[in-house]
Symmetry: C2
Subunit: 366 residues, 2 copies
């Protein structure tokens, strides 16, 4: 199989590595940055470096456009124009309507299928590329009304060959889902961190050491401005609609809380607990996630000791969070494991190491 | 020192253990639940179990009221009425205005100092009590205009003796800070999880495997309804005001994103990044937190192996998050360490184990 990659950063480079290792593909690459292109060649992400989009795509069966979201419509059009009538062109952008809506008229557009691998976007740079990046990851495929079935079939096979799990979704649905589960949490992080800055300046306080919830919620505040401004804007209406809907929910929550009706607040809170379980834990193999809170000294090796003992006992840690105490000498570790039995086993193991360990009813600091 | 504890759950029990072990105190306890009281006696959290508030407090120099927030004003009044004119009475509630504003008239009220230890509220039950719970933790002391200096001084010494770091704050300031850094993230978690439920039901989708930001933000959704409904309502006006302010910020963000002005969105995003650094990382010893993203197989022992190697290399992990891939066979681990040098060292160690590892520029999934 001949593959062309336009933009050989983390995602493009990883596609190249996976395609060469797993599909035994011939991989040509182009990048506007000559140093990036050279580096991609050095690490073997591409076998041939091209001087232009046209040169890269000339024999390609599949062309992956892996540029920043704002550049994609242009690059896709260029790739479609340069490539032959049998070539499938796709992209890997985090939002999908922008590129789909600006597809060129005419038969060229039939060869385009949008794509979005849910992997790896948290780092950048071809030097971090790896063949395993897409292993088991969902890879959204976004056909349009004009897409050819042949092109879709070929792309689906290629994506599966890279180790990913392809799944079709329409562009608008994709963007709405992403707005909710990815873009909106980033907006919330930004807003909350700014608000805390204002409140705490007024109180002349640093963030108190309580509130792992605050740390969790604001972790991505201001993350990677180079790509995020593009993502917010390219999915602007869906993100803004998501914000509007959330604003209504929050206003309703404020009304409820102001009412002072403890029972109603409790019912609202319990409904959220149920919804979270339904969303996140429904089809976990071992049962619902249980949280085990462990009190520890905060020194090198503590996490290791615990994780090692759990590993030796065959307990798999599904999630973990560290909550250092203010003095950084002590703290707590939360681990999440699947199912009650596993959780009990984990607690026994941890207590055997001499740490305090408690299964958390339903989490949350007070 | 004679200490009385009214309500011997996790916090009350831990106060008892710490007071007995560290202050060599005589500790009497009362709890409306006879089984809890008995259990507290068994584990040594109290030396004497009392049948009433009056019996528990009769010789006490300091009385800790450790009941749920909604019960505190009543219990504090009872403790003040029952105890002698030299007895200091305090509480450990997560919100402070409710109890302070409902203090009894007259000289009894002068003996009350509010309190809030920032520790341990994420679990519950006397069986999880431990003497080290407050080690290095901030413990807010909330005097009123009527509070006696003597009472404050005694409580401050007692709290420091339990291992905590006392700090004075006024009730309104305390409640505003907590509304922002603890209560509001919980409200956001609830609202976001409900919204995702609605959106994803419309799209017939489960939460896609992208979005550690979503998982982080919604982790505490619906946490512990028994205590959280009380907290929301008892701090209702501050929480609702926090929601109002956040709603304004979000509406402004929606306007900005709708405008399509990428540069303005980028500036907003960068300001959030700067604010977050300022809030969370200003006085970390080793420098700013750096994130190292590690690609791993998701099997028991992997986390241990990495953490162990880092520990042996003297690298302290300040924070950690696991991001399992959808197939649960592979995934990524993020660790945060303080400072550039430590981060580079951690990367070298992890790569030495054969894992892919990349320092994340500024985090966030795309």
């Amino acid at each position: 199989m001949n593959i062309a990659i336009l933009g050989v950063g983390l995602i493009g480079g990883s596609i190249g590595l996976a395609a060469r290792h797993r599909l035994d593909a011939e991989v040509a690459g182009f990048d506007p940055d000559p140093r990036t292109l050279e580096r991609a060649l050095e690490i073997g992400a591409i076998a041939r470096s091209a001087d232009s989009v046209a040169e890269a795509t000339e024999d390609a069966e599949v062309v992956f456009c892996a540029a920043p979201v704002g550049r994609l419509p242009e690059l896709v059009a260029e790739a479609l124009a340069a490539s032959g009538p049998e070539t499938t062109v796709t992209d890997v952008g985090s939002t999908k309507r922008g590129v789909v809506e600006r597809l060129p008229e005419g038969p060229d557009g039939e060869r385009f299928i949008g794509g979005h691998p849910l992997a790896g976007a948290e780092t950048a740079g071809v030097e971090n590329a790896r063949a395993e990046l897409f292993d088991g990851a969902r890879w959204y495929l976004v056909p349009t009304e004009r897409s050819s079935g042949l092109a879709y079939d070929r792309l689906q096979r290629a994506v599966a060959g890279l180790g990913a799990r392809p799944q079709a979704i329409d562009a608008a649905g994709h963007d709405r889902v992403m707005a909710t589960v990815s873009h909106l949490p980033h907006v919330l992080a930004n807003a909350l961190v700014q608000q805390a800055g204002t409140t705490l300046a007024a109180e002349a306080e640093r963030v108190p050491e309580v509130g792992p919830s605050f740390r969790d919620t604001t972790r991505v505040a201001g993350a990677n401005p180079a790509i995020w401004a593009d993502i917010f804007v390219s999915n602007g209406d869906a993100v803004a609609a998501g914000i509007d809907a959330l604003v209504e929910r929050l206003a309703e929550a404020a009304r409820l809380i102001r009412s002072g009706d403890v029972e109603a607040v409790r019912a609202w809170h319990q409904a959220a607990a149920a919804e979270r379980r339904r969303l996140l834990e429904a089809d976990l193999v071992g049962g619902e996630l249980r949280e085990l809170r462990i009190a520890v000294e905060n020194r090198p090796g503590t996490v290791a000791e615990i994780a090692l003992a759990l590993g030796q006992a065959g307990v798999n840690i599904e999630d973990m969070a560290l909550y250092p105490a203010p003095d950084m000498r002590s703290g707590a570790i939360s681990i999440w494991v699947a199912g009650e039995a596993e959780a009990e086993r984990a607690a026994t193991v941890v207590r055997g190491l001499g740490h305090g360990a408690a299964l958390v009813g339903d989490g949350g600091e007070g």
